[in-house]
Amino acid sequence: MKEQMKYLKLSKEEMANLLDELRREFRVVAPVRREGLILFEEIGSGKEAQLDFGNSRKSPKDFFFPQMEVLFSYQLSDNELKIEEPQPEPRKTVIFGMRPCDARALLLLDKIFLEGEVQDSNYRRRREENIILALGCTHPRRTCFCTSVGGNPFGTEGIDALFIDLGKTYVVEVLTQKGEELLRDRLSEADEESLKSAERVKREAESSMGPQVKAKELADLNLLDIFEDSFWDQVHEKCLGCGICTYLCPTCSCFDVIDEKTDSGGERIRLWDSCLYPLFTLQASGVNPRPTGRERMRQRVLHKFKYFADEFGQPSCVGCGRCVVSCPVNLDIRRVVNELVGGKA
C-alpha cells in the first residue's frame, strides 16, 4: 500500500492559489475567521482560508448533515398534494482544512446514516460528492484526545488527501483516487527530505498528546452494571441541560423532524436535536423515560462510549475536544469517562 501512495508537495504561499484554482470548478469550503471564531464556510477567495488554527468551533459535519435541512416541500391545491424534493447543490464541494478527527467522525456518521437497513439518500449524496482535503495536527491541543478513541493527529481515515504542515511547505499524502485526480496535475512530487520531515512532525505530534481517556475500558464494562451505578446520581448535577456539547460535536447525529406551514403548502424540515433536552423523549401521553438530567446525561455518555462501541466496535467520539472547550460549566467528558471507569476498577 505504502508504495502506491503518492506524496505531493506545496509551498505554503501557493495554498491560496490552489484554493482559488479549485474554486473555478468546485464549491470550496475552508476554515475562516468570523468575529474571532474559526468556522467552516464557503470561501470567496483562497486568502480567506485560515491555515494556522486549533480547530473550528463548530464541527464541519454541517456540510454532510446540516443543522437544518428541508426533506421535502409540498403544495396543496384542490386537495391535490404534490411533494417536491429540494434540488441538491449543483457543484461538488471540496472541503479544505478538515482535521483528521472530524474526517474520521464522518465514518461514524456513515454507520448511522448509510450502513443500516435504511439509508439517508441526501447524506449519501453529500458523502459521495464532497472531497476532503484534511490538515494534519502538528500541534494537538491539550483538549484533544483522538488517540484515546482510535484516531491520530495525522490519521487518514475518511480523507482524500492529507496536508502535513512542515512550516514553509506542505507534504500532501494522497489517499484516494478522488484525491489523486484532484491534485496530481496541480502539485509537484514531494522529495525524500520532506517526507522525512513529515514523519518527524507526525511522531512529535503523536507524542505530545495529553493523558489518555479510558474509552476502551468503559466499553469493556458490563452495561447493566454501569447503567444502574450511583455515579449518575451526581455527575449530572452541574450540567445545564443545554445542547452545546451535542451541537458542536462532530459525531452527534440525533435529529428532530418538524413541519412548517406556508400559505399554500409547507415543508418537512430536519433539525439537529439533543439527547440533553427534556422534550427529546417526552411521549404524547406525558410519559418521559428520561425525566431528569441524570438519565439524559447517562444516555449521552453511554450512547457514545458503550452502546455505539458495542454495536460498531468503536466509540462515537473522535476526541476533538470541542465539548471540553465549550462546556459552560467545564463538565469535562474526559473526566466523566475516567471517573466512571475508575469507580469500577
Binding site: E35, G54, G243, T246, Y247, I269, L271, V324, P328, R335
Partner: protein, 315 residues
C-alpha cells in the same frame, strides 16, 4: 486569595458539620487553565474541593430553583442579586439558603482572551495581583487583568453581594466606570440600518443550543416558549426564528436580568447577547426607576405599574 479560600472552606465545613445545610454549591478547580467548575458538596471532608479565582464565572443561583435541600451557596455580587430575584419570584424561600457572599473582583472573559491570543491555546495561567500571566506553546504574556474582565464585570456596581448570611473576605471597590450603559448609548446612536445589520450579523451565528437560556438563573420555566404549544416562534435556525427567539428571550428577562453575563459566557458562538439584555435593563431603569435583584420587598417592574408611567408612545 488563599485566605479567602481557607475561610470559604472553613465556613462550608462548619455549615455541613453543624447540619445547617445539606449541600454547599460552590466552585472547584476545572480541568483547563482559567476554568473552574460548579461543584456540589455534601460531606465536610469534601470542602477542600472548594476554590475561588477569576474564573468562577457561572451564576450559581441557576442551580437553586426546584431543589428541596437546605443549601449553602457561594455567591458573588451577581449571584446574590439573582438569588434576590428568585426569592422575589417565589422560586426560592429565603430560609432555604445560607448565602456565603464573596466580594468579587470581576471574572475573566475567555472570549476576550481567545480574541487577543488569536485562538492560540493557553497552557498555563496565573493570576498575579492586577496582572494575568499566560503561557502557551509559543508565547508568554503578562496582561492587565482589568482589561480582560467580562464587559458586565467591568461596569458592575454590585461586586459586593447585596444579600448574604456571611461575608467571606474583604469588601471591594465597585466599578469605577461612570456609565454602565455607555455601550448601549453608543449603539442607540447608530442608524436603524446599522443596528439591524448588527443584530442580524450577531444572531445569524446562533445555533440554538439554548446555552444562553439554560445558563440563565431566571430561565427556570418548566416549559419554555420555544417548546410550548402553540409555537409562536419557529424551531428552526432560519434567521427570523432565531431573531425572534432572542428578542423574546431578552424580553422575558426585562426587569429581572442582573447582567451577570452567564448567557454570553455560555454562548459557544460569541453572540452579543448583552446588547439586548442591557438595553432592556437600561430602559427599565429609565422608564420605571427599577434595578433588578436589589430588594426583596419591591415588586418586579412588569408585575406592577404606576398610573403616571410614560405613555408618549401611545396614540
Amino acid at each position: 486569595m488563599a485566605d479567602l479560600i481557607a475561610e470559604m472552606r472553613q465556613a462550608a465545613r462548619r455549615l455541613l458539620e453543624e447540619k445547617k445545610v445539606d449541600l454547599i454549591i460552590g466552585f472547584e478547580k476545572g480541568t483547563l487553565p482559567l476554568r473552574s467548575s460548579p461543584c456540589f458538596i455534601r460531606h465536610p471532608e469534601d470542602v477542600d474541593r472548594l476554590t475561588w479565582d477569576s474564573s468562577c464565572e457561572n451564576n450559581l443561583a441557576k442551580y437553586l430553583p426546584g431543589r428541596k435541600e437546605k443549601i449553602g451557596i457561594i455567591a458573588k455580587g451577581c449571584d446574590s442579586r439573582a438569588i434576590v430575584g428568585l426569592i422575589q419570584e417565589k422560586q426560592l424561600e429565603r430560609e432555604q439558603v445560607v448565602i456565603l457572599g464573596v466580594p468579587c473582583q470581576g471574572m475573566l472573559d475567555r472570549w476576550k482572551m481567545e480574541q487577543l491570543l488569536e485562538g492560540r491555546e493557553v497552557l498555563e495561567a496565573e493570576e498575579r495581583g492586577e496582572e494575568l500571566y499566560l503561557k502557551g506553546c509559543d508565547f508568554e504574556r503578562t496582561l492587565p487583568r482589568a482589561e480582560l474582565l467580562h464587559r458586565s464585570c467591568q461596569v458592575c456596581r454590585h461586586r459586593n453581594p447585596v444579600l448574604y448570611d456571611l461575608l467571606l473576605g474583604e469588601r471591594v471597590a465597585e466599578s469605577p466606570v461612570p456609565d454602565e450603559y455607555a455601550e448601549i448609548r453608543e449603539f442607540e446612536r447608530k442608524s436603524p440600518e446599522e443596528r439591524w445589520a448588527y443584530f442580524t450579523k450577531e444572531i445569524s451565528r446562533c445555533i440554538r443550543c439554548y446555552g444562553c437560556r439554560n445558563a440563565c438563573p431566571f430561565c427556570y420555566c418548566r416549559e419554555c416558549f420555544v417548546d410550548a404549544e402553540p409555537l409562536w416562534v419557529g424551531k428552526t435556525i432560519d434567521l427570523t426564528d432565531t431573531q425572534l427567539f432572542h428578542l423574546v428571550r431578552a424580553f422575558h428577562l426585562a426587569g429581572r436580568c442582573v447582567d451577570c453575563g452567564a448567557c454570553e459566557r455560555a454562548c459557544p458562538m460569541g453572540v452579543d447577547l448583552r446588547k439586548l439584555n442591557k438595553k432592556l435593563e437600561k430602559d427599565v431603569e429609565e422608564l420605571f426607576g427599577y434595578k433588578a435583584g436589589l430588594s426583596l420587598e419591591e415588586l418586579p417592574p412588569l408585575a406592577t405599574f404606576r398610573p403616571e408611567d410614560p405613555q408618549e408612545f401611545i396614540r
